[in-house]
Each structure stands twice: as structure tokens, then as C-alpha cells.
């Protein structure tokens, strides 16, 4: 997986300046399902330590096209996300490229 992540080049996308604390792989339980309204899709997951993470996805139509539609992943499901963590260690937020649920992989920013 480290190899796969290393293959993601800098994304042609703005708004990542606050997420330069490095790549993370984060597993947790969905507490707020995917919403595709707004500038970006979003969901919330709770990790094993009880921290609720705000997960920022790609813009709505792009996330939808990646198959990650609203309601596809139920609340309570276990998911793993790959992306970049907010640089502020007190802010549990990550902008993610990939969401994995069971055997389903949603690449909202596919590797090039």
C-alpha cells in the first residue's frame, strides 16, 4: 500500500495547503454518512481512540462518479481511508483520495 500511495503525484487541485502533515491510512466506523452537497463531499468516521474525523472527499460530482454516492456506505460500517491529515494535530480532519469498504475501493482521486 505504501507503494500505491507513493504513486499519487501532487494533485491538480487546490485547498490542500492545510493538509501537509503527511499521508495517513485511517480506519474507523462511519458515524456520518457521505454527503455530496457543498464544495466537496464529506463524511465522518470514528477511530479506535474515539476521535471523530471529518473526512473531506472530492467535489460532489467527482465523488459520485467514483461510485461513492450518498447512502452507499451505511452508518456503522468499518472503512479505511487514505489521504493527507490536517497539519494541525488537534484537528481531526483528512482530505482523502481513496475510501475502502469491505472489498470495495472508491478512488475519488484515482492514481494517474
Amino acid at each position: 500500500m505504501a507503494l500505491a500511495l507513493a504513486a499519487f503525484p501532487a494533485l491538480a487541485h487546490h485547498g490542500w495547503s492545510g493538509n501537509t502533515a503527511g499521508e495517513i491510512e485511517l480506519s474507523g466506523t462511519v458515524v456520518t454518512g457521505v454527503s455530496l452537497a457543498g464544495a466537496h463531499g464529506a463524511m465522518q468516521i470514528e477511530d479506535a481512540d474515539g476521535h471523530v474525523w471529518d473526512i473531506t472527499l472530492a467535489p460532489g460530482p467527482r465523488t459520485h462518479r467514483a461510485g461513492l454516492k450518498e447512502g452507499v456506505i451505511p452508518v456503522g460500517a468499518e472503512v479505511t481511508v487514505f489521504g493527507e491529515r490536517n497539519e494541525n494535530p488537534d484537528v481531526f480532519e483528512a482530505k482523502v483520495r481513496r475510501v475502502v469498504w469491505d472489498d470495495q475501493v472508491f478512488d475519488v482521486y484515482p492514481p494517474q
Binding site: H14, G15, S17, L36, A37, G38, A39, P59, G60, P61
Partner: protein
């Protein structure tokens, strides 16, 4: 700003589908285009460009176009903001943008009360000092609206 995020307007917009935000963004761009395009022509005229064209001829189309563009940009901007208002806490560009918009509107109010402006808009003969006065306010206007657009564009990069 949490009240806006929790408003009925925000709830309504979120329920309209995945393209809503992008289309509001389009409306914002069209509003900015109309506002700034009109402002650019008018302000350059006030600053002394196109001497052969009477000011009144350019004032007539540019002022209502700028006003309509501003209203479209403001309405679409507030709607975009309502989706996730609290996300902008601490964003210096948005904190700078709104006061500068107020200065821009104040500048409009002041300029339209100037004798020099009234004479130019009516096509009446200019008096001594009119040209300098209008040039100063035109340059100020161009500076202000450029600053507003710059702040707006940079919000998403913070």
C-alpha cells in the same frame, strides 16, 4: 457564522443535488464578470482613457450592469457560503473580503454624490477639478474591486 450553516436556505440548497454548488459557483463567476467588466470600463474612462467618448454614454450601461452583477455575485456567494460556513473560521481572505466590499459600496455611494459625477452623468459641461476628482475615485474603485476579487479567489487556497 453557524446560523447561516444551520439556516433553512442551507438545508434547502444541500437537498438540491450534487451539481448545486458548482452551478452556484458558475453564478458567482457570471456575477463577478458582469460587475468587474462594467467597473473596469467605467473606471478606466474616469481615469482618462477614451477621451473622445462622453462619460455619460459609458455611465448609462456600466452602472446598472455593475449593480446587477454585484447582486448576482452577492446572492450566489452567500448561498455557497451557507453550505459549510464554519469551515471558513480563521480564513484571513474571507475576513478581509467583506470589509473591503463595504468600502467598495461606500465608494459607490460617495462618487454618485459628487458634483463632478452628476455633471459627467448628465452630459453637462465639466468644471475645474472634475477630471482629477473622477480619476481619483475611478482608480480607487478599480483598486477596491480588484482587492475583493483577489481575496475571494484566494479563500479556497488557504
Amino acid at each position: 457564522m453557524a446560523w447561516l450553516e444551520g439556516s433553512a436556505l442551507a438545508d434547502f440548497l444541500r437537498g438540491l443535488g450534487i451539481w448545486t454548488y458548482g452551478l452556484l459557483n458558475l453564478g458567482h463567476i457570471l456575477g463577478i464578470g458582469s460587475l468587474f467588466g462594467a467597473v473596469l470600463i467605467l473606471d478606466l474612462k474616469l481615469m482618462g482613457v477614451w477621451r473622445s467618448i462622453p462619460a455619460a454614454i459609458l455611465i448609462r450601461p456600466t452602472v446598472p450592469l455593475a449593480a446587477a452583477g454585484f447582486l448576482l455575485a452577492a446572492a450566489s456567494g452567500i448561498m455557497m457560503l451557507s453550505f459549510n460556513t464554519t469551515e471558513y473560521h480563521g480564513n484571513p481572505f474571507i475576513y478581509a473580503k467583506f470589509p473591503i466590499i463595504v468600502v467598495g459600496l461606500a465608494n459607490v455611494a460617495v462618487i454618485q454624490r459628487l458634483g463632478a459625477w452628476r455633471r459627467a452623468a448628465d452630459g453637462a459641461p465639466a468644471e475645474a477639478g472634475d477630471r482629477t476628482m473622477l480619476a481619483i475615485f475611478g482608480a480607487l474603485s478599480l483598486l477596491i474591486w480588484t482587492a475583493v476579487i483577489t481575496c475571494g479567489r484566494l479563500i479556497g487556497y488557504w
